[in-house]
Structure formats: C-alpha cells, structure tokens
Symmetry: C2
Subunit: 203 residues, 2 copies
C-alpha cells in the first residue's frame, strides 16, 4: 500500500498489529483521527499508555485491578466458593449472569503443551497455596473452556486439590439454552445425557 | 458494562469512540494490549500522538504529507492536469490505478448545505488561485462522489473556472467493470448511454 506520509504509514502499521484490524481498517481509523480535535487523539493515546503502565493485578485472585488488593475479599461476597477461570473477560461474563456471588481465581491462560504453556506458566501454584491457607473455601468451581486444553487444566487442578478438604466441581456442559436438539453435536448431547439433572432442580 | 478497573474503563471508552469499534471490541483490544510487552503499547500510543501533532498538509495540493511541500510538484509528474478529489484516500485510490500521472487537489470535503458545509469550508478558493497563477495547467478533472453533494460541488467549481483557459472534465459515470447490465440502476444505465464512447477508444 502507498501512504501519503511516513507518520501515517507508522500509525497504520502500529494499529494494524491489533487483532481483527487490517491495514485498510487501520488507514480508515488514521484518516478519521486526523480529522478530530487534538484532545480526541491525545485521549486515546494517553489512555492506552497509562493502561499498560499503571495496571495492577490483584495479588490474591489475579484479576485486573487498579490496586494490588481488589474487591475480591469484601464482605458482601460468599468467601466459601472460588471460581477458577482462564481470563478476566470470563470473570465479567460470570458476574453478568447474576448467578454467582463468590470469589474468583484467574489462571491467566490454560495448560497447552502444543503452545509451550505448562502448569508453571499459569497461576495454578497460587491457587493451591490459596486453598491451603484459606480454610473458609469449601468449593472450587472450574469454569474453563470446553476444549482439550481446558479439560487438561481441569484434570491437573483436580489432581493437585484432592489432598485438601475442598469440593471440586465444573460448570455443566450441555445444550445451550434456546437451541434445538437436532443441531447439537454428538459429544455435547452425550454429555448432557450423562450429566442430566432433576427437572425442577435449577429451574 | 462492568469493568474490572478504572484504567480499563477509560481505555475502552476512548477506543470505542473510533468509527466501527463498539465497547465489546474495545474491551477485547484492551485485554489484548494488557498481554503485550510495554514496547507494543507505547508504539501504538506514540504513533497516534505523533500522527496528530506532527502531520502537515501540502500548501499547494492539501494532501496529507510529512512536510508542507509534498512531492506533488516533482518533475516526473504531468503538471498540465489537476485532479480534484474530496479526500486523501481518493488520491491513493487514483494513484493505485496507474492510469493517472498528473497533479492533485484535495478539497477536504464537499459542499453540503444540509450539513452546514459551504464553499468556504472546502479548499475551492485555493484551487481557483492555483489555476489563476499556474498557466501550465490545461485541464481540471473533477473526480468527486456520484452523489447530490458531489455533483453540486462539481457544478460550483465548473462555474468558478469558466473564466480561465482550462478544460474542466469529470470522471465517467457508468456500469462498473465486471458487473451485469440487468443489475444496474436506471440513472447509471441512462447516463452510460448518454456518455457512450467509441469502442476502441480506451480499451
């Protein structure tokens, strides 16, 4: 692509590094930015820089936070359950359901030998330490992806936690609400039969 | 939407101001940025700030450039033709065709009374001055949008230039190459018949 200016070229190349944004979209964004007041572009530029420089992770649950002690330990939460998730968006998704009021533990990834990610690259050690120290925790819910890597991680955590007095559960795999049975794949359907629940239990 | 941190919230809100990017996409980008090395985010942040602060517009043709004198006046261009376009992307699009080697003049918009944009808000005055001073220019090609506003702008420029010894032309309106006749709208088809060309002329 030909660029009218080196500054435009550099900005396009930097923005196009973001996921889902190609060079054409980046050029469109750059030309849009050039038409905006200076405060608009400096707002974006500053917020991105400060985001990366000042962000903290909670030392207990590893959620993205403004301080190293997030609101995870406040009184209004049920401190007897810890929900283990892969990343911060999962925390937001689970909070938005309104069905869960317990604590969280963000792994920051999942075990994936193919990508060179072993148990030591995700926050599993700190989860075990947390269960060891905190005897208020009675249940650990594994809310990981329904993929090979997610299952591997779940198995590994279950194995490590079996020496502690804590119940390890996983979120249900089954037919999504609102979808037709005939379109479900065999494995999901099979699993939804194997882990069937009493009809009135959760409705 | 609930955010895990004020820094995340601010960055999401700033990024979501860009066209075509909603809050969900912005959040995904922010969480991606948090996983990248610091150089990655500072690269994006710096390039956006410098883009807006250091960009220049060529004082002759108003193209985005690194200096106030762009390459528009260099010897290898045909200085007898000026192509009038609405914005810089149009310049890039026309250059990419490889069919045009003349000069450009960027209006920076088009006359649109509905949006409060009059002739004084676009670079029409400087075009007339340019034609007045530069007697090398023999032809002005109007390459504006095939819309009401584009046509209004074309008429206005044609009227202003009629006192000067310069041929005013416009790019052809017609059936796009590769498209079927039956799908063309009546106005386009009618215009393509009215402005028909000899078959061998441009093939």
């Amino acid at each position: 692509m030909e660029y009218p200016s080196q500054l435009v070229k550099r900005a396009v190349e930097e923005i196009a590094k973001l996921p889902g944004i190609g060079k054409k979209t980046a050029l469109r964004l750059v030309l849009h930015l050039l038409k905006q007041p200076k405060e608009f572009t400096s707002g974006i530029s500053d917020s991105i820089r400060e985001l990366r420089e000042q962000i903290k992770y909670c030392s207990t649950c590893h959620i993205i936070a403004d301080t190293e002690e997030c609101t995870c330990q406040t009184a209004y939460r049920d401190t007897s359950i810890v929900c283990v998730v892969e990343d911060t968006p999962d925390v937001l998704a689970i909070r938005n359901t309104g069905q869960y009021n317990g604590l969280f533990h963000v792994l920051g990834g999942r075990i994936s030998p193919m990508d060179g990610i072993g148990p030591e690259n995700v926050n599993i050690d700190s989860l075990v330490q947390r269960i060891k120290i905190d005897d208020k925790v009675k249940e650990v819910i594994l809310a990981l992806s329904a993929t090979m890597e997610g299952d591997t991680t779940s198995f590994y955590i279950t194995k490590l936690l079996k020496d502690y007095e804590v119940k390890v559960t996983t979120i249900a795999r089954g037919i999504p609400v609102g979808s037709e049975l005939e379109f479900a794949d065999e494995i999901t359907l099979g699993r939804s039969i194997a882990t069937r629940t009493l009809f009135n239990q959760k409705h």
